[in-house]
Structures are given as structure tokens and as C-alpha cells.
Amino acid sequence: MTRKFLIASVLLLSALLLGICLGSVHIPVAEVLRSVVEKTRWSQILWNVRFPRVLLSVIAGAGLSVVGNAFQGLLKNPLVDPYLLGISSGASFGAVVAIFLAEVLNASFLREVPTLTFAFGIVAALLALILARRQNTVPVTELILSGVLINILFSAATVLFVMLAKRNITHVYMWLFGTFSGTGWRDIPVPLLSVAGFTILTSGLGMRLNAMSLGETEAMTSGVEVEKLKMLVYITGTFTTAAIVSRTGMIGFVGLIVPHMARRIFGNDHRISIPTSAVLGGLLLCTCDVISRTALSPSEIPVGVITAFVGAPVMFVLLRRSGRSV
């Protein structure tokens, strides 16, 4: 277990270094290390572009994976991802509105500040929670259904808005498949704090999440305040997801698959699988971002496309090796 964790951590650090060195301009490792301590001709590109971009890819991968893991255990459903509550389509709608307003009002700051995206993501999630609520409880089936409903509504609204706005949709297209392009230091603090906070919280609640994975009745009779726990994890998880998505756009697959990878490699105990999901998620998304910007350089492939192409074969191998259902 410790050996596997060490290997994953070393791989993550290697991916970080690779992400910093590779790109439209390749920078040697020695130059990267020198730029950390003194000003070099690479300092500008490293400090303003590469460092924040690579850091955000790790944070986003870790955050989406941890939220996916916690939601799957909480809802006793292996197919749940961080976008369960309709947050993705809500945030997409917010992004489209922001891009549209930025062009119409000639206010480019709207494109850079992810406030509208974040706000619509949260609104969508809250609507799903309110719709699912029945007499102080949030039943799992109702929650999943209301999340699907909110997703459909906001997706339809997004398409309609794009049609009516009659604008260039390149930005929208990039956003819908996820991108780390244009990441700056301003994009780091909120995702970093929320992902770190959520990972610590849910790792601490690991034994309770294990009990939830046995069933709500079992958790309840073991002394877990089930509805309070669900609300705590939904709300903090939604906030974390919105903090990521509002800066990176929609990155699919990571939050669904990485938790299963972590469980297969490190075991099902949430106290272990949550922090290890963070490491594996960071590793996967950082690697995928490197591929996305180097494979067809100078063009960039949306990172969501790469996560699917890289993650699916890895998951397939793990499934074949373990030979058991989740």
C-alpha cells in the first residue's frame, strides 16, 4: 500500500515536472530549476504560464476525483460523478452567458472572471436539491432524477442561447470540453483551498462514508446523522466542483473513473481511497494536459478528449486485472 502510494506520488511529481518543461516551447529541466531561484529568459513563461497551468490541472484532477469518490460512496452508486446535481450544465449556461455578454458589452473581464459560471453552477445544484427534497430528507433516486432534469433544462437553455445569440461559438466549444488555456495565478487560490478543504473533510468522514456504502439504514442505526452528512457533502462538493469548473470548463470522465481506479489499486476504504483519488486524479489530468498541448502543437486539443482516450484504456486494464465488479 505505502509502496503503491509512493510510486503514484513520484509519478505525479514527474508529471508536474514534465508539464512545466513541455509545451509549445520546450524548456530543459536544468533551466526550470534555475528559473526557480533566479531570473532567466524562461522566467516569464514559467512563472506566468506554465506553473499556474500545471498547478491548476493537478488541483482540478484531484478535486473532481475526490468529489466523485465521496458522491459515489454517499449515494451508494458507482455511476455518480461530480456533475450529479446538474452543476455542469448550469455552469455551461453561465459560461455561455458570460461569453455572450463579454462580446455584446465589450467587457472582456466577464470572460476572465468566472463569477457567472460559478453562480449558475451553484444555482443548478441548489435547484436539484430543492426539487429532490421530501419532508426534511433527500432521497437518492429523487436526487439523481432531479439532477438529470436540471441538466436537461440548462443544456437546452444553453443551446437556445447560443442559437439566439448568433455569435462565434469557438470559446463556448473550448469551454464545453475543458481547457487550461489562459490559466493565471488568479485562478489558483479558490480551487486550491476548496479542494484541500474537501479532501481533508471527506477523508476525516471516511468511516462514515464506508457506513453509507453499506446502506442508509445501516448508517443511520450506526449513529450517522444521514441527512446532515448528505447535505454537508453535497454542498461542499458542489462548491468545490463549481470552483474548478468555473475556471477550467467541463472536464468529463475524471470524476467518474479515477475513484474506481483508486479503489482497485488502494482498496475501497474511503479513508484511503479519497486521498489516493486526489493523487491519481492530479496525475491523470496533469498528464492529459501535457498531451493536449503537445500532441498537435501549436494547436491544443480539449483536455476532456484526452482524459477519455487516456483514462479509458487504463481503466480497462485495471478491470481486466482485478476481474471483479466494483
Binding site: Q72, G73, K76, N77, P78, L201, S203, G204, L205, M207, R208, N210, A211, S213, L214, G215, T217, E218, A219, M220, T221, S222, G223, V224, E225, V226, R263, N268, D269, R324, V326
Partner: protein, 258 residues
């Protein structure tokens, strides 16, 4: 003070009433068997006692205090519930499953297991004859072994009152006997047990009190010998039974097929 006290209980899932006019009380150390045909409300009654469902009318008290006034954590320290089937989403080891029984006794965040916790898990496994399963994956156990682990989980919870839902359902005779021994030992150790049964003979041999349910109403409550008569059984189950005295002076109930 009664361990469990139920007064004039009324409960319905929708418009149709599931349980009506249920009143009974258990003394410490009682082993109460709830018997009745399918759909008579046995599991619902257990869930009401455990505070998972809320009654439409009536009062349920645990150790003299209304069940709905307990915090979950406090209630879990005095009442454990072995559900009919434990079906973990992920393939946890038996140790991981049993340690969830310790939740009411541990801090909410970052609970760590002490040596005495590990001992408690070990004793719970020993008392259910499942000590060899400790490191095995729950999904690899047979139905009877899984049932024993479910009981061990609640034993680790260390509560004076234990509710058990259909402990012998879908088990072969060998496992029925082994689960019976486990429950008998718990009762002998002074635990108050309320269990829903399909197997009348198991209830007859284990319980000192029987609660008969028929179509959601209480048909009778009293000592097993008083209640389990051929007449009562026929009225509750709608079929004729014969009481047969075994060689060790135990009675057995057999339905008449002809």
C-alpha cells in the same frame, strides 16, 4: 423501566394502513419474536422501533425515552439493528464492515481504532464464529457467513438492545442452527432482542415472548407457550398446523398439507 415500549402505534406508507393498534413492552433480557405472514408489517415495526420510520400516531420509547427525541449517535449506543441483508456497494473486508459498528463510540472526524477497539472487533467475530473471516472480502462470503458478520457488526456496536430482521431468511439448515446458537448466546448474555421471524420453529426455540401480527394488527403478545397454539397459528397464517412434541420435550410446528 421497559427496554422497549410501544403504545397505540399507527403507521401507513400511503393511504393504506400498514400497522394499527400495536402496543407492547419488553423487559430487559427478553427475546421477543415477531411472527406473522408476509406483508403483516414485521420489518416496518422494527424500522419504527429503530427510529428509521416515524409513526403517524402512538409513542415508541427506548429505555423510557421517546425514540424520536434521541440523537442518532445516542440511540446507536443503546440500540443496534441487524438488517435483513447487508449489501455493501464496494467489496469491503470484514474488518472494515465491522468497524462501522464502532461509529457511535468514536469522534466524528478522523476516528482511529485503539487496541481495545480491535479487541472488541475480535470478540464480536469470536461470538459469531466468524473470526477466520476478518481479512476476507465480504462479497466472497456465503449468505450464512454474511449474516454472521452482520450480527458481529452490531455486536461491536455493543448495545443492550438488538433488533434483528429475518435472521434465518434464505439460509440452509446448517446456517439456521449456527445463527440460532449465536442469537441464543446473545440472549444468555443479557441482551434484549427483538427479531422478526419467518421460521416459526426457530422463534419457538429461541424466544421467551412472541408478538403475532396479522394484516398490520396485533393478534397477540405473550409467552411463546401461551401464544403458539394450533388455533392461533391457523388464525394468523390461514392454514392448519400441528404441534409435535420432540424427543427433548421441545415442541415443533408443522403445517398440515392435506
Amino acid at each position: 423501566m421497559f427496554d422497549v415500549e410501544v403504545q397505540n402505534l399507527l403507521f401507513s406508507y400511503s393511504k393504506e394502513i400498514t400497522l394499527k393498534d400495536i402496543s407492547f413492552a419488553t423487559d430487559p433480557g427478553d427475546f421477543v419474536g415477531i411472527l406473522g405472514p408476509n406483508g403483516s408489517g414485521k420489518t416496518t415495526l422494527l424500522k419504527l422501533i429503530a427510529g428509521i420510520l416515524k409513526p403517524d400516531k402512538g409513542v415508541i420509547k427506548i429505555k423510557g425515552k421517546r425514540v424520536d427525541s434521541f440523537k442518532r449517535r445516542d440511540l446507536a449506543r443503546i440500540l443496534g439493528f441487524v438488517t435483513q441483508e447487508l449489501s455493501p456497494l464496494f467489496s469491503f473486508t470484514v474488518h472494515r464492515i465491522i468497524e462501522t459498528g464502532l461509529i457511535p463510540h468514536k469522534p466524528r472526524l478522523f476516528p482511529s481504532l485503539t487496541e481495545s477497539d480491535e479487541n472488541r472487533i475480535k470478540v464480536a467475530l469470536q461470538n459469531t464464529g466468524s473470526e477466520s473471516f476478518l481479512k476476507r472480502s465480504f462479497h466472497t462470503l456465503s449468505a450464512g457467513e454474511q449474516r454472521r458478520v452482520s450480527i458481529a457488526r452490531v455486536l461491536a456496536q455493543n448495545t443492550p438492545i438488538i433488533l434483528v430482521d429475518e435472521p434465518m431468511a434464505h439460509l440452509d439448515p446448517g446456517h439456521v442452527v449456527s445463527i440460532s446458537r449465536v442469537l441464543k448466546k446473545l440472549s444468555a448474555d443479557g441482551k434484549t432482542i427483538i427479531a422478526a421471524f419467518h421460521d416459526i420453529n426457530a422463534a419457538f426455540s429461541l424466544c421467551n415472548k412472541i408478538l403475532f401480527l396479522k394484516k398490520g394488527k396485533m393478534y397477540g403478545y405473550g409467552s411463546a407457550k401461551e401464544i403458539l397454539t394450533e388455533v392461533n397459528l391457523e388464525r394468523v397464517y390461514g392454514t392448519r398446523f400441528q404441534l409435535i412434541k420432540g424427543s427433548d420435550s421441545h415442541f415443533f410446528v408443522v403445517p398440515k398439507f392435506h
